[in-house]
Amino acid sequence: MVAWKDIRMEVRGREQITSMFFFALLVLFVFNFTLVLDSRTTELLMPGLIWVAFCFTGLIGLGRSFQSERDNQCIEALLMAPVGKGAIYLGKLLGNFLFMLAVEIVLFPLFVLFFNLDVSGRILQLAGVFVLGTLGLAALGTLFSAMTMQSRAREVMFPILLLPLAIPVLIGAVQATGGILAHEPWSEFAHWVQLLAVFNLIFVVLGYWGFELILEE
């Protein structure tokens, strides 16, 4: 329900997705100007670049995910609603996850187009890794977004808390993406995908638990 509210609000206002998408597009252009990308280095760097773009875009979206609640004092209303705080967390998580995924769905074809990536026959595997990596980032991000919501210097604090703790997700996602883009057999990078799944489980549980303590009034 909370996710549905966020999605409806987003469809009407389109603030978060638009800003995330244009930011991502700019990141993509900056990569093109700042890095010398011939076909060989592209192959080596691409998994990292894709995830840097996804992760930074996620930072923009996630960092703002509680802003509307705070500005309109909606968080109090949400807390009064007859649902558990855990349900609010899961709703927020789902909303953030879907926003990030929506941006990735538009952004990734641009990567393929601009950098001539060969993804034939690997789309489903890539989609799976993107879903897992994004879920991990969103799980931690939603919690820290709530945590920094009331602090000063919110925009700075959010990435400072999120990035160090999200490193396992980034490593797993980059390794798995690299394996797919290099057309390695599944067994070469399957352990990274499994690891990502386990990380996600841990982070969602941690987020669920932490969120209840954060919103205690």
Binding site: Q150, I160, L161, P168, L213
Partner: protein, 232 residues
């Protein structure tokens, strides 16, 4: 709790100085030079204790955070905060001593090896913890959020270490391992004394810092009270 600690605190301070002086004498004079690395390996006797105490500091912060969320005692919060403040100094000292050791043995100050990266991330988590505290105004909320962050960081650290280790590693295996000693007994004695000294030093510094934080808050509260009374 913090007001009756004066004699104990002084005792701990003296004990730390004593143990560390003895440890330094043992490490620099008594213990033989390392068979492979020569005199350079003596730096191990500060590097390893720094590293162990950094981990101990985070463990203490974790336990105090759990205690805070459970009992909601301000003392636990002060101790957690103090432990991280002191711990981050030990993390930096570990990395500095490691860099000085790494230059002659690995021919580089820094490398993106699993243990080094995990340790740097530990430092970043501690820095994030301290910054979060600095940026939150409400003391109760600050304590609660910081405790949640400390616990999440504690659960996450082994995961980070595991994922980074699978990614790459170069560090020599730990000198103190359950399978047995890989160093000479004299070196072991020197190392143990240094380790004990560092632990006592950490306890001493943490108590001093926690008392400082407590007194600062008390002072602040009494000042606000005085201003309010003057207004009336």
């Amino acid at each position: 709790v913090f007001t009756r600690l004066d004699p104990l605190q002084r005792l701990l301070g003296l004990l730390a100085v004593g143990l560390l002086s003895l440890g330094l004498y043992l490490s620099l004079v008594q213990a033989p030079p390392d068979y492979y690395q020569g005199e350079i390996a003596r730096i191990m006797n500060i590097h390893v204790p720094f590293a162990k105490v950094s981990l101990l500091a985070y463990l203490v912060a974790f336990l105090c955070s759990v205690a805070y969320l459970w009992k909601r005692s301000r003392a636990a919060d002060y101790l957690a905060h103090a432990s991280v403040s002191v711990g981050i100094v030990f993390v930096l000292a570990t990395i500095a001593a490691g860099a000085i050791w790494g230059k002659p043995t690995w021919n580089t100050w820094w490398t993106w090896d699993a243990r080094l990266v995990s340790f740097a991330i530990l430092g970043l988590i501690m820095a994030g913890y301290l910054m979060l505290r600095a940026y939150l105004e409400d003391p109760e909320k600050r304590a609660r959020y910081a405790a949640v962050l400390a616990i999440i960081g504690f659960v996450d650290l082994p995961i980070i270490h595991l994922s980074v280790r699978w990614w790459r590693t170069l560090h020599q295996p730990a000198s103190l391992s359950p399978q047995g000693l890989s160093i000479a007994p004299e070196m072991m004695v020197a190392l143990s004394v240094m380790l004990a000294g560092m632990v006592v030093l950490f306890v001493y510094l943490t108590i001093v810092t926690a008392r400082g934080l407590y007194l600062r808050d008390e002072l602040e509260a009494s000042r606000i009270q005085r201003i309010c009374e003057a207004r009336l």
